[in-house]
Symmetry: C2
Subunit: 260 residues, 2 copies
């Protein structure tokens, strides 16, 4: 089994949560990959550098100055600090982006009504799994910053959930893969007001039912769509929940929401 | 032959020189490694972030804020832009630091009279050549930022010349290695006032003679000491000179200064 684990900004931004997460992550035996979000530090550093963030419909536009900031903050500061800390925890991490070894070639998002700027769209079918597989077989743990490139010299900002699902799909040709999304909730909730109302298992049938009953919040829908897309492309299972629950239990478990 | 090539800030900071350099570098056939310096951009970004650089005897002190800046600028911005541009030139680059895959474990420089801060001293004998060799054999071109780590979670700032020589030494156990230092002069000069007075070949005997005649400038001495240390540890030859001269001629050549 290969574990492809995405950890979000809420953990990256919190030193105590992060320390606990990295210890748990390092303790997972066997082959694993970490994909990290950026956290708020890119915005903080961008602000200090006098770069104004532009948003359209709540989504940040990645202009020329912003892609430089996220390249240095996600690809440098956050990524290398994670690597150094994982090394200290006995995990032989190697920190990279989708540009490195051309693992994730991407396409700059075409401009329709909105120009998102230097944002990369990924086609999971074009991921180069070879170098990734070689790293895993050599006992290394790849740690991905949420960045790709266009093959013409330009770095691109890319959603970390998407990268995680693309890597999981690419690896599923060679290994059974569990894709794990760590996020701020304990799992997919039956009742948005009750943090403990975790749905333990979702399959296509249950998902349809949940959609019909309009039980799911808008925020969770893209994650579930991503999850089912991964499963339909060969990923064995997807687990969504709190880092501490879904990382510690690496055997099939009831913690978090399991999607099959 | 493996080419271990160090390129300094004078090329990194100049878009035209850099573009020409990367094209020439990508065209070198076979196994190669690039080590890059940082250039002035770290100072520029540090200044914008309101971080005051402290110098002792002309050497920058790497305090806690400065190590974060160099980690993001060298390890993120500069490193990934080089990788993306090399990929665009058909070179399958992978950008890393000495912390990644624990290739270059280092020791924080002990405080004697001066506390240099988060600066890493490297013992070439402790370099882990295995992952590097695996990358080279897989057709990848490692691109190193001048950073290492202490194995306890802390990134460290490390001289790029030193990293280049340590990597060259580690690889010389498995391959014939040519170590190339690209710098702002055409080579080691017989006469500091004449940029064309390049000494084509230096061996130990000639070096002793040059030292006795006090012909060499203070700036070149550490480079030559580094070069001879590399050769005495198994590196086949060291070439020092202008990027355009020493990169294009990958067969033994008269361009630059050859040290044997």
């Amino acid at each position: 089994m290969v574990y492809v684990i995405k950890v979000g900004g809420n953990v990256i931004d919190n030193p105590e949560l992060l320390q606990a997460f990295l210890k748990d992550f390092a303790a997972i035996p066997g082959k694993k990959i970490l994909i990290h979000g950026g956290g708020k530090i890119a915005t903080r550093i961008g602000d200090k550098l006098g770069i104004v963030s532009n948003y359209v419909d709540g989504r940040r536009i990645t202009d020329a100055e912003t892609i430089d900031v996220v390249t240095m903050v996600y690809g440098g500061l956050v990524n290398k600090q994670l690597v150094a800390k994982l090394q200290a925890n006995g995990c032989n991490a190697i920190g990279i982006t989708g540009a490195d070894a051309n693992i994730i070639p991407a396409v700059k998002r075409p401009v329709k009504t909105i120009d998102y700027g230097f944002v990369g769209d990924v086609d999971a079918g074009k991921v180069n799994g070879g170098p990734l597989q070689a790293m895993l077989e050599a006992g290394l743990t790849p740690v991905f910053a949420p960045l790709t490139h266009d093959g013409q010299g330009q770095m691109l900002n890319t959603n970390a959930d998407t990268i995680a699902s693309a890597l999981a799909i690419a690896l599923s040709a060679h290994y059974p893969v569990r894709l794990i999304y760590c996020f701020e909730k304990k799992g997919v909730l039956k009742d948005a007001a009750d943090d403990n109302a975790v749905i333990n298992l979702i399959n296509r049938e249950i998902y349809q039912q949940l959609l019909e009953e309009k039980i799911l919040t808008a925020g969770i829908l893209p994650k579930l769509e991503n999850a089912f897309a991964a499963i339909e492309s060969g990923v064995k299972e997807v687990l969504i929940g709190h880092a501490e629950d879904v990382i510690r239990n690496t055997t099939p478990s009831v913690a978090g929401t399991l999607i099959r």
